[in-house]
Subunit: 308 residues, 2 copies
């Protein structure tokens, strides 16, 4: 019987990539061009960057740990407010309150049950985009995007830019984390967060503060049973998954941290990895695409020191 | 406390849309432009088309029923082969064998356990795209696409086209169903099918036969626990969800069919609905996008006679 297989390696913003050994089992032995897995495995140590503990959250669920990288550069006031809420234990005992298919999973407190905000702000002026500066690293993708004049990567983030306006913003790719808000643009405090679990809802770009990306444990969120209520909100307490705790990694003893590293998006290895994904040359493909969407580019993550 | 809300209505290829009443609760009363929910609710009866029972599958799982619309026009030999397999009860007792985060859920038989194919074909020449003909209805989207020169909708399907080559193909949007294959382009028989559960893996377009779309029960597939094996395959029998049966709707007594209707993509209502999604004017939005991606356009489904 033929092998179960429709693709050869990890995709999109997925976190788990195959090892070269696993790939090799699915490939003719004489493939001589560099493949995604080999490129990642061969990336030098300085192509990897450790997560900044101050900008890393551990969201602990009964099912396991979700690790979120915070985008302080892109929404500094909101990220600082999230840290304040986390350190006041605002999220400990909160719940997954929403799971809408092909859209978002959201967490916070059910309506009317939220504890006091303490020192945290209840409103924050919009942090939906930032100015393009000459110092901003940017690895541009050459292919058109449905939503923005330019897309690419900056400091490990999927990014869109509008040079005419001089603005840049994070894109709503799978696994990206944003700040739920009401109609008022300043109504997102960071007390309710969501993660994208479907096709990128890019129409939300520049309409809401994006504050991070799930870099481990995404599957714990994406498989939450969908809510039966309007917009996928759960209607009863029994449907909600309770959050054990949310912590800033910097507040956790170093020995208890998850030592994750990200492939630097300004590294040669990343550039080669994108090229290998843009032009698929594995034996399986009959029609290499030679194009790629910003949300289809994998952003590799590994445990420190792991050789892939 | 502010309302839990980050968007106003259904998105992407999601199946469940809000009713206008639900929308109204989240909107200022004085919004005077037509909104998505109102457009769908106001669509005349002839804007809806019933599913063709011969091209409809019922995939019955312990968790409930998944309804799949088959794309006979796009892959006629493969779709006929799937009907042959279904009618030989090939899939009854098969399993969900793979769940890869941000990618696909796949079903069929674990390796080495497949029953005989009977009259069904084991190999089928590639049905990865078709010729553009003058008769082919096509509602084009005006915005750029990362992967294809043209994208839009034809007979209820999300479609890409290359006028220079004179070819058209179905796009790998969320909820679309395809035929797993090995390296040989003719190795996809329809005995293993997959559904897209993440950001559209459009690099698979034109590399594999697309044969349908999930039009009900998508959430039963998208929340399958992710597999721990390579490419999300389950490693043990205990992880797999057993398929009770797969049936062609035409083989089921009429009274037991699910009377679903699709909004015709050549209707005025659909054109208005796309426009309302392309330019979001609801109070929540501060930056209307005025652009849309083919996989972000909802393809509304309702129960026959349902007024929304």
């Amino acid at each position: 019987m033929r092998a179960h297989l429709i693709v050869l390696s990890c995709l999109g913003a997925a976190l788990a990539c195959e090892t070269p050994a696993e790939q090799a089992a699915n490939l003719p032995a004489n493939d001589s061009f560099p493949q995604f897995g080999d490129i990642i495995a061969g990336a030098p140590p300085d192509a990897w960057q450790a997560l900044d503990p101050r900008n890393t959250l551990y969201l602990d669920l009964p099912q396991g740990r979700v690790v979120i990288r915070l985008a302080e550069q892109w929404a500094p006031v909101t990220v600082e407010n999230i840290r304040t809420l986390v350190r006041a234990q605002y999220f400990d005992g909160a719940s997954i309150i929403r799971s809408q298919d092909n859209y978002v999973v959201q967490w916070g407190w059910p309506r009317g049950q939220a504890p006091a905000f303490g020192a945290a702000r209840r409103t924050i002026g919009p942090e939906f985009d930032i100015a393009i500066t000459p110092e901003m690293p940017f690895m541009a993708l050459p292919d058109p995007d449905s939503y923005a004049p330019q897309v690419g990567f900056s400091n490990g983030w999927p990014v869109a830019r509008d040079p005419e306006r001089g603005r840049a913003w994070l894109t709503h790719c799978y696994g990206m984390v944003g700040v739920a808000r009401g109609d008022a643009p300043n109504s997102g405090s960071g007390s309710e967060l969501y993660v994208v679990i479907g096709h990128a809802p890019r129409h939300l770009d520049r309409n809401i503060a994006m504050v991070g990306r799930v870099v481990q444990g995404m599957e714990l969120l994406s498989t939450m049973p969908r809510g039966s209520g309007n917009l996928g909100f759960y209607e009863t307490a029994g449907e909600r998954t309770r959050i054990r705790s949310v912590k800033v990694a910097a507040d956790v003893p170093e020995a208890e941290r998850v030592p994750l590293e990200l492939l630097r998006t300004d590294s040669d290895a990343f550039e080669q990895a994108v090229a290998s994904r843009r032009s698929r040359r594995e034996a399986w493909f009959v029609e290499p695409t030679n194009r790629i969407n910003v949300c289809n580019v994998p952003l590799p993550v590994r445990l420190a020191g792991e050789s892939r």
